[in-house]
């Protein structure tokens, strides 16, 4: 039952995103293609976090781990001469899923502040692992010389082709999370978030469902990591820094928790704001913090909450 407002909103969003590259090229502002591609990659990461944080109530403060694993999978394989995108991205997704399964298996047994701390601790471990990998550039990171290759089907070195691939993957990701959240599986997650005692009393054991959600979210964020590595042609431990986890979390909250469109709005607003402020003053971070806090106070339900058509359940 998609209401008219929702159809209108999504048509507008998709049309704008499709039209952006030709318009930017005509105006010789190709920088925006780059910016929006980055926005959409982070929207995938934020959508994956939204599944466990927004719908599942699991406050994972370590989601950048999967961004890092996905990016390193691409970078490391490329370093060793494996250019196949199928291999690279497949590895990125699988490795992220496996790590998410391990982190999830440990952390989901806890809740509240413990859950936050454990997910943070695991990600810090991975961050320091990245810092210590001599061959792969330690804290400097390393360049990736060739983009992922897909049998010549698509050339990621072409910024516009890559842009449209990211657009397609982002829309698919948002739709995937939307379907998951409204399936029986998603209802179990949301119910356990709403009232765990009630869930257990009617016969749900939330653990395995939460773990499955955690793994799916990790895998999806791993894909975002693989895209990010191609986007920057570069990997570094900074991808896994805790501030990065915080940023993704902020995108989810700012955009509107447990909404389909929220992660895209959140990623867009945060990254565009960052870019604007950075162009204005070098102390942009000083302004960004308070702005974000105000926006959260002002838009209690996130940006999706103020746009008719985006406030889906």
């Amino acid at each position: 039952m998609p209401g008219r407002a929702r159809i209108l909103l999504w048509s507008a969003v998709i049309a704008l995103l499709i039209l952006l590259p030709p318009v930017a090229e005509a105006l010789k502002q190709t920088f925006y293609i780059d910016l929006l591609r980055r926005v959409m990659i982070f929207a995938i990461a934020a959508a994956s976090l939204n599944l466990i944080l927004g719908y599942g109530g699991m406050i994972s403060f370590g989601h950048a781990a999967y961004l890092g694993i996905g990016a390193y999978a691409v970078g490391i394989l490329a370093f060793h001469g494996v250019d196949s995108g199928w291999m690279q991205w497949g590895t990125a997704i699988a490795a992220s899923a496996v790590v998410a399964a391990v982190i999830g298996a440990v952390s989901i047994r806890t809740s509240g502040i413990y859950f936050i701390m454990i997910t943070l601790a695991f990600t810090q471990m991975l961050y320091y692992l990245g810092m210590s990998l001599e061959v792969y550039g330690r804290d400097d990171g390393m360049r990736i010389k060739t983009h992922s290759q897909f049998w010549g089907l698509i050339d990621l070195a072409d910024p516009v082709s890559f842009y449209y691939l990211v657009l397609a993957l982002m829309l698919a990701s948002l739709y995937l999370v939307h379907r998951l959240a409204n399936s029986r599986f998603g209802m179990v997650l949301r119910a356990a978030k709403s009232n765990e005692a009630r869930s257990r009393a009617i016969g749900f054991s939330p653990y395995l469902y939460r773990l499955a959600a955690f793994v799916i979210a990790g895998a999806l964020c791993g894909l975002a990591g693989a895209l990010l590595a191609n986007h920057t042609a570069y990997i570094s431990p900074d991808f896994m820094h805790w501030t990065r986890s915080g940023e993704i979390m902020f995108m989810v909250i700012l955009g509107g928790i447990a909404t389909t469109a929220g992660p895209l709005f959140g990623a867009f607003t945060l990254l565009v704001l960052e870019t604007l402020l950075a162009g204005w003053t070098e102390h942009w971070q000083v302004y960004l913090g308070p702005l974000l806090i105000l926006s959260v106070i002002f838009f209690r339900r996130g940006l999706a909450g103020i746009l008719p058509g985006a406030r889906d359940a």
Partner: protein, 249 residues
């Protein structure tokens, strides 16, 4: 006699030095409504929580339909046929009444690793849920967000969720607590309509409700059951009058 559906033996549960359950032996017969009464802090909720699997007893055993279920947690006991309502209303506040009950139906409709089809439009979940809402008298309120229901309606909804799991044993912890007269009357009438086809353990302070619904009554004081009997027997039991009913009279 069809025998006991549930048998609790020697249940003990302490919170620090406080013995909330101090060796409770308790039976429920198939089909009966067995009320548990007792003063505030007597340990009624603690007792119910051990039956439902929310609390682990320090000692003692619980048999359900002949099987030892002492080690099972709440979800497993629910799947065996236990269902409970909580003293403090426990529902999914941000979901509609229908979604609340549909979730209870879903919990007993096989595993939920179904990732694609929208659950809210599944007839297999909605239809039974709607039927139960109609049965408890909430049919007209199906699409209302649970948090926006009146207090009495929320308590009805919780009972509806419990019933949606098709329980063999219904544990009700003060189902009419905080209700007005009309609401109480409606709930009592509804519970009376379940009599015979539903086995119930009823914890309740409202003595009119207890004496009109119970087949048997057990009196719990300081973690011990001091008497069990028919409503008539309990009404005239001297020890009970002294320990408990006397306070009301």
């Amino acid at each position: 006699m069809s025998g006991a559906l549930l048998e609790a033996r020697g249940l003990r549960k302490s919170f620090g030095a406080l013995r909330a359950s101090d060796g409770i032996d308790f039976d429920v017969l198939e089909g009966e409504t067995h009320a548990v009464i007792g003063p505030n802090g007597a340990g009624k909720t603690t007792f119910i929580s051990q039956l439902s699997g929310d609390l682990r007893p320090d000692a003692g055993s619980i048999r359900f339909s002949g099987e030892d279920v002492t080690a099972l947690r709440a979800p497993a006991r629910s799947r065996m046929g236990f269902a409970r309502s909580f003293q403090i209303t426990s529902i999914y506040r941000e979901f509609t009444a229908l979604e609340n009950v549909a979730l209870a139906v879903q919990a007993h409709a096989g595993h939920s690793f179904r990732f694609w089809k929208p659950a809210r439009s599944e007839r297999a979940l909605r239809d039974p849920a709607r039927a139960i809402l109609d049965e408890v008298g909430l049919g007209a309120r199906a699409e209302v967000i649970a948090a926006n229901l009146a207090h009495g309606e929320q308590r009805q909804l919780e009972v509806a969720m419990a019933l949606a799991t098709k329980p063999r044993l219904l544990l009700l912890d003060e189902p009419v607590a905080g209700m007005g007269n009309d609401e109480t009357q409606r709930m009592v009438t509804f519970l009376a309509s379940l009599k015979g086809r539903q086995t119930i353990i009823l914890v309740e302070h409202d003595m009119d409700a207890v004496f009109s619904l119970a087949d048997r009554i057990s009196v719990l004081v300081y973690g011990r059951i001091i008497a069990t009997g028919s409503p008539q027997e309990i009404r005239v039991n001297a020890e009970v009058r002294r320990a408990y009913l006397g306070e009301d009279a």
